[in-house]
Assembly symmetry: C2
Homo-oligomer: 225 residues x 2
């Protein structure tokens, strides 16, 4: 974890307390940040005229803040910039838990929730650092290989910062937990692990001859920057 | 698609209209249902005391309804059963779109959003059909292999139905769309495909000797039931 991050345990609030199966609750920053740093997308929940929405979008974490971005005219950006209450959720599905009864089927997962209000980032250097992290969150080190960002591009992108002050994670691991009476039922039971797999990179038609192909092993370095 | 589903096109409402990049909007049921049927989890957005939450959870689609379930005492179930406005979002991440500038980086994805109000399912046969679909949504055909569900288990599980009446999907496919001036920039650009991969099934310690191991190829039949 970065040196710039804060004290390791987050407070348990009435809104982040894990009500169902509290043993699954996780409140230390290192564990929460590892979940955030592994995911490619988050879901942002916010309400407009009383209707809640959960919108998928890219994000990045830098120190103790979660950054979102978008076009300045987008509904999500306008709402969040106005300071509404927001919830950002990240979910990693690690496995299918196949029990001997339908009732005990489950999913192994790691999810993290960050609650609060975002602020529109106006400082150009903070915006630049956040946009750098957006890129390197996906592919570590890619920012420095790209055509440098222009002032116009920085101006044209709205960046929002959500401080990670009220957050929690929830984790399920391990095998199915069948009723003792069901253990003799003649069906396979266990866990089918799931993971996100990267396929062969597909170059676009403009890739210059002689360039180093993209090495998908770089994705294994994610979350370690 | 099932014979029991309704007319193929959903209406575009002010709440489902795709504002940013409207060409990405999808409103036909077959395309939306294909996205729903492929995902293992959804995110359910609902507000409690003005605070929106996006909670990850399992789900299933049956005909023109999306079903959720949980313990009757869970906050999500209690809120949804009270008839609050809800948004269920499903997102499949298909690829990383790596451009020559940070600005044009993107993600290939398919997401579906269903808006409305859920109702608590009280009819035992509808509950049973929904719980069957929860199981078969994950592994086609598994329900019939399991220790049969008991009346007590059906009673002990709260099932919610959200009619699919106001819904839309959003899809991005294809290569990065770089500025013409950037095409000579010497960095690899293209798409890194992402998919959900199933690893070797891990039997639990109670699996009876001689049972057929779980064949993860069965997961390829998902969404075709």
């Amino acid at each position: 974890m970065d040196a710039a991050t804060s004290s390791s345990m987050l407070p348990v609030t009435d809104r982040t307390r894990v009500r169902r199966l509290p043993a699954r609750g996780v409140f230390d920053r290192a564990a929460i940040y590892a979940i955030l740093d592994e995911a490619f997308v988050c879901h942002v929940a916010f309400a407009v005229d009383g209707q809640p929405y959960a919108m998928p979008t890219g994000f990045a974490r830098l120190d103790d803040a979660l950054y979102l971005h978008g076009a300045a005219a987008s509904r999500m950006v306008r709402q969040l910039a106005a300071g509404v209450d927001v919830c950002v959720t990240v979910t990693l599905v690690d496995g299918l838990v196949l029990a001997r009864s339908a009732f005990h089927h489950s999913v192994n997962y790691r999810s993290a929730v960050v609650l609060g209000r975002a602020r529109l980032v106006t400082d150009v250097e903070e915006k630049r650092a956040a946009l750098r992290q957006f890129t390197n969150h996906v592919v570590p080190g890619r920012w420095d290989e790209l055509r440098p960002i222009t002032d116009q591009e920085i101006k044209g992108t709205a960046v929002l910062a959500l401080p990670i002050e009220e957050a929690s994670a929830k984790v399920r691991t391990g095998p199915p937990l069948d009723d003792a009476d069901d253990l003799q039922w003649p069906v396979w039971a266990g866990v089918v692990p799931l993971s996100t797999a990267a396929g062969d990179p597909l170059p676009d038609v403009h890739v210059l001859p002689g360039l180093t192909p993209f090495d998908r092993e770089r994705l294994r370095q994610r979350g370690r920057a």
